[in-house]
């Protein structure tokens, strides 16, 4: 009876207890690593905030329109603060992964390994999106100012169109980088882009035929009589 009790209850409990005793150091170690991560993350955030202030990163972000983009996205903090928080949070996240890995659980280790292999793609996608946003803002503003100076009434629309077109292209490339339905994204982008161009062509063709006629008539009259244009010398 005693042997049965020992074999059925005590032995498994001993094994379980031994495993718990083996696991506990890993757990405490993981908790320690995580707490260290919190501290290092906080330190990184503080140091980076100071460094970004010295480098006047917010002024640079203002010039590129990043601050305005963040505000539109609901983030009213400065760009340097957001970036410092992001990097601080990332440091904490890395420590969290290391602490999980330290638990020596096969399932968790496999998942972490898969995640780490995928992580470079996420980084590249973030970089592509950031560059796409900055380039879109810059080109959109360039087109906006040029079209205002040319006296186009739809300057705002044209500027926004260029901005979002470039950003949309960046999104398509980023999604392709992440491997999420790469072909579907490309096809969707092509269809949307072609549709927009076709719609614009039809809209301009139908809506602008009178304007085009007036413009050409005006040009012909100007060539004949030289009327209708300023002759100011600005210099």
């Amino acid at each position: 009876m005693e042997g049965v009790f020992e074999r059925l209850l005590l032995a498994p409990m001993n094994v379980f207890f031994e495993k718990v005793m083996q696991f506990l150091p890993n757990l405490f170690s993981a908790l320690f690593i995580f707490v260290c991560g919190l501290l290092v993350g906080w330190l990184a955030k503080t140091v980076l905030r100071w460094l970004f202030a010295v480098l006047k990163l917010d002024g640079f972000a203002d010039r590129l329109g990043v601050t305005r983009g963040l505000a539109k996205g609901g983030l009213h903090d400065s760009f340097s603060s957001v970036l410092a928080r992001f990097i601080g949070g990332f440091v904490v996240f890395v420590f969290f992964l290391v602490s999980l890995n330290n638990l020596n659980v096969d399932l968790i280790q496999t998942m972490i390994e898969k995640f780490l292999n995928y992580l470079p793609n996420v980084f590249v996608a973030i970089v592509i999106l950031s560059l796409g946003y900055m380039l879109g803002t810059f080109l959109g503003r360039t087109v906006l100012i040029a079209s205002v100076n040319a006296g186009m009434r739809i300057s705002g629309l044209v500027g926004r169109f260029v901005k979002y077109l470039v950003f949309l292209l960046a999104v398509a490339i980023a999604v392709d980088q992440l491997g999420i339905g790469a072909e579907a994204v490309l096809v969707t982008y092509t269809i949307v882009f072609s549709g927009v161009v076709l719609a614009l062509a039809i809209a301009f063709g139908l809506g602008g035929k009178d304007t085009a006629r007036k413009y050409l008539e005006g040009k012909l009259k100007e060539k004949k009589g030289g009327e209708g244009e300023d002759v100011m010398r600005h210099l």
Binding site: I145, N149, G151, G156, E229, D230, V231, M232, R233
Partner: protein, 431 residues
């Protein structure tokens, strides 16, 4: 360091490559005392008259000086260089009492580098340096009102050794030269303390030493190579202590439309060059307290001027469009009261539309400060000034529609005073 010391130290660097044919021609000429340069681009229609006026001016007023006329062309396709070669004053006897003693020469050559007036001037400076010219003058190729007397007025103060730089003074229509009247003249006056009325006039006289000094500057890849050359030359002369005067030339009448001239690009290049010079000479203009008159030569007389056609309604449409679309861009650096004023002004009917001098000075100085602080891409910042400039020009036209020339000049002088007052604030914010 005195100007004389600087002359000893300065030596031209990184010169342009003149073609062998041109070098041969310069070698044949050897030395010259006077050089007159004419930059051109598709000016076949008017350049013949300019060349003849220069030739007569040299023969009439400087017969005992060896002179060279240089046409520096930007690749004209309308036969401009041929027009220069063909422009000959066959009968000097009909305009001169006595014939010249020293020979005069004529060179017509294409310049190299960035297409623009500044690159054309650079070639002229190089040739002046190669010939050891003592006095130089440059005149625009689209002038219809140039007379031989202009050459005397531009060169005499330099030949006499009294001055290093001669800036022009013209009678112009009140709506002519609006970038000068509303931006460059008030800014130049208040920054450098010299009332040079046409700092970007286009016609200048200068000493050979100053031409060599210009060549020492590494600016030929910037806006100075284009329309920025005029303000750069005048500012460089004043800020480096060269002796400057003005010459009254009479009326300035030229071809109404500058070929290839786009307002936004002109404004970008001229204002961009002026802002760059503010960076370069910050230590000079920070010491300026008030502006003073500069010596002026020439007999002043009244002339009739050709009317200038202006479409104010279209200008106001451009201004209103600019305020509606670009306010987000300007908000980063314009004072709140200026932004608020602009938003109200776009709704005001044409008869009542005005941009007051104080607001305009605030706008120009805010743009200068924003350029200094690099708050925005330089291209975006300067090109976004165009609708505001157009609005200010419309306001100026509406305000002076019934004004005589003297009243208009008084108004421009008042604007200068306001710039001078506001400059104190800019000095405080600059560093």
């Amino acid at each position: 360091m005195t100007v004389a010391d600087r002359r000893q130290d300065d030596s031209p660097t990184n010169g342009v490559n003149l073609r062998q044919e041109v070098r041969d021609q310069i070698g044949e000429i050897g030395e010259a005392e006077i050089l007159v340069g004419i930059p051109s681009f598709n000016n076949a229609r008017t350049i013949g008259h300019v060349v003849r006026a220069v030739q007569i001016g040299l023969a009439k007023y400087f017969p005992e000086h060896k002179a060279v006329l240089v046409n520096s062309d930007g690749g004209s396709s309308d036969g401009t260089m041929e027009a220069v070669r063909d422009a000959v004053m066959e009968d000097f006897g009909s305009v001169l009492i006595r014939h010249r003693i020293e020979p005069s020469f004529k060179l017509a050559l294409p310049y190299h580098g960035i297409p623009g007036k500044g690159s054309a001037f650079r070639t002229i400076f190089e040739i002046a340096d190669a010939l050891g010219a003592k006095a130089c003058a440059v005149v625009d190729s689209d002038l219809r009102s140039i007379t031989p007397e202009w050459i005397e007025l531009l060169l005499k103060p330099v030949i006499s050794g009294d001055f290093d730089y001669v800036s022009p003074l013209y009678l112009r229509h009140k709506y002519d030269g609006t970038i000068t009247n509303s931006i460059i003249y008030p800014l130049f006056c208040s920054l450098y303390g010299k009332k040079v009325r046409q700092p970007i006039g286009g016609e200048f006289g200068f000493s050979g030493d100053l031409a060599r000094f210009f060549l020492t500057k590494d600016v030929w890849e910037s806006d100075v190579a284009r329309y920025g050359i005029d303000i750069w030359m005048t500012t460089t002369a004043v800020a480096n202590g060269y002796r400057i005067c003005q010459a009254f030339l009479g009326a300035k009448i030229h071809d109404p439309k500058d070929p290839g001239a786009d307002l936004s690009s002109m404004l970008y290049q001229v204002v961009g060059a002026a802002f760059d010079l503010m960076e370069a000479y910050a230590e000079v203009w920070k010491k300026t307290e008030c502006s003073e008159q500069v010596p002026t030569f020439g007999f002043r007389y009244a002339v009739g001027l050709e009317p200038v056609r202006v479409n104010v309604e279209r200008m106001l449409e451009m201004f209103s469009l600019g305020v509606t679309e670009l306010m987000d861009v300007w908000r980063a650096f314009l004072p709140d009261e200026v932004s608020d004023f602009l938003l109200v002004a776009r709704e005001i009917p044409m008869e009542e539309f005005r941009i007051p001098d104080g607001i305009w000075a605030d706008i120009v100085l805010s743009f200068a400060l924003a350029a200094h602080r690099k708050l925005l891409s330089r291209e975006h910042l300067l090109r976004s000034l165009t609708p505001l400039y157009i609005g200010r020009t419309a306001s100026f036209v509406l305000e002076t529609v019934d004004s005589e020339a003297e009243e208009v000049e008084e108004k421009i002088e008042r604007l200068c005073q306001i710039f001078e007052v506001k400059m104190g604030g800019l000095r405080d914010l600059w560093d």
